[in-house]
Amino acid sequence: MRTPSSSFSSLRDALEAGGIPPAGCFVGAQNRIAFGDLLRGSAIATDRENLRGRSVLIASTDPFLTALALVELDGLARRMILLPPDLALEHLPYVMSCAEVDTVVSDGSRLAGLSHGAAEHALCANSLVPRGPASHERLPTEWILLTSGTTGRPKLVLHTLASLAGAIDVSASPADVIWGTFYDIRRYGGLQIYLRAVLTRSSLLIPAPKEPLADFLTRVGAAGVTHISGTPSHWRRVLMSPEADRIAPGYIRLSGEIADQAILSSLRSFYANAKISHAFATTEAGVAFDVRDGLSGFPVSALTDTPGVELQVVDATLRVRSSRTAQRYLGENAPVLKDAEGFVNTGDVLELRDGRYHFQGRCDGVINVGGLKVHPEEVEAVLNAHPQVRLSLVKTKKNPITGALVVADVLLKTPSLPEGDQTRELHHALRQFCRESLPPHKVPSSIRFVPTIEVSETGKLVRRHA
């Protein structure tokens, strides 16, 4: 099923549609820029011709600048690469070569001191440079999103505006909608909200980097945000905040993690007037479906009754085929994103209970900590590099605050298990060792010293999931 949004050939066309100046704006912590002004000016301080047909890395610190740059570049650049906030800069050369980046747009601070190689650099700022209307020639710009890979090196996922916007029905959007999101718009979940705002010419509140939750909630309340999205972990934090009652949304959307019944019921009772929906979406598979009945999991009927999306459960794992899935991964020897029939294997394991499917975890052992993915192999590689460690097995532990935590079983080189203070010291030392090379959510929250770790006949760790 095609929705009207897929007919826009660029964000700019969407903003210009209707002929009258669009009323919406982007609202950051410090700045507000009206869509109408964005059509007459640019946040990128270079001649438009210098950007035409380029492969552009958008590397700002503040996602507000990314919001501006996307409008300027979509339909003009060959490719836009959205650098997420937590990318380890050691992976930057790989990302740039993989995506054939020839232009870097940044605020001058994010990549300060780093070489851009042969790529040209253009500054992006909150002050718009006046310029005339864009020509009508539009390129089908490729949108490149980054997701985490097994070794810590990101995977580059190729989308188009049509695939990203496939789940957005612009004709159904009521007037006076103001969007807000707790996500970073440079990741799939946040980008969905960004696109909902731009394609329906509705305002969007964008959180600043490290903006305290209390400040953002106060802004959201003052701006009268009607539609707001975040992960279940974001929402749990909201409900633990004294400022939770500053906002009065009419629509609450959860995605990026399994929404359990506790968070759905708590939101229902705290925001009694809001419609609450939880969506299943991944960067690769796109938006598959929304669940609006207030219950965790999803009804079996969603498999057959979701317009425009084909869903299959094969070996208890969800597979998705639709026009919303990504096209492919970029790069040499990139893994295959879709099978021969065009299905994306999400790797999410389902269990059928009382007529509903419930998500049980991942068949590849990937751990979802508050919406951030952790590949166990990456953490094991770090633990195994410690001089006292022979082997480690990294697993998920269910958690009511972040959905899951990373935990580890460790087999030491010493024949006997540590005791008492020794255990505590070693535990501390290993966590410290992990902290030196891993971001906090990947550091095991608890470590168990075990007498054996099971290895299969083929020499692989035996992982038990779900």
Partner: protein, 85 residues
């Protein structure tokens, strides 16, 4: 010691412990202090809840689907006291 005292002390201990591990200084722990004013992120709270489950044997966040989320430290302690009793 009463259950209340044990729970309160364990909660304080675990907050302090996790704050130190994450390299953070936390404010004096008074009952009316909003949890989020402690400067701990969601990951820290997740670790605190996991540690308390291992020392107290309860996880009121998972057990209780209808109770409101605690906002202050005092409410957080009571959340655990009610679960332990």
């Amino acid at each position: 010691m009463s259950v209340q005292v044990v729970v309160r002390e364990e909660v304080r201990d675990v907050f302090q412990q996790v704050a130190i591990e994450q390299g953070m200084q936390i404010a004096a722990l008074s009952d009316d202090l909003p949890l989020l004013d402690l400067g701990l992120d969601s990951l820290c709270f997740a670790i605190i809840v996991a540690r308390l489950e291992s020392v107290l044997g309860v996880d009121p966040f998972s057990a209780n689907e209808s109770a409101p989320f605690p906002v202050t430290l005092g409410e957080f302690v009571r959340y655990y006291e009610n679960a332990v009793q």
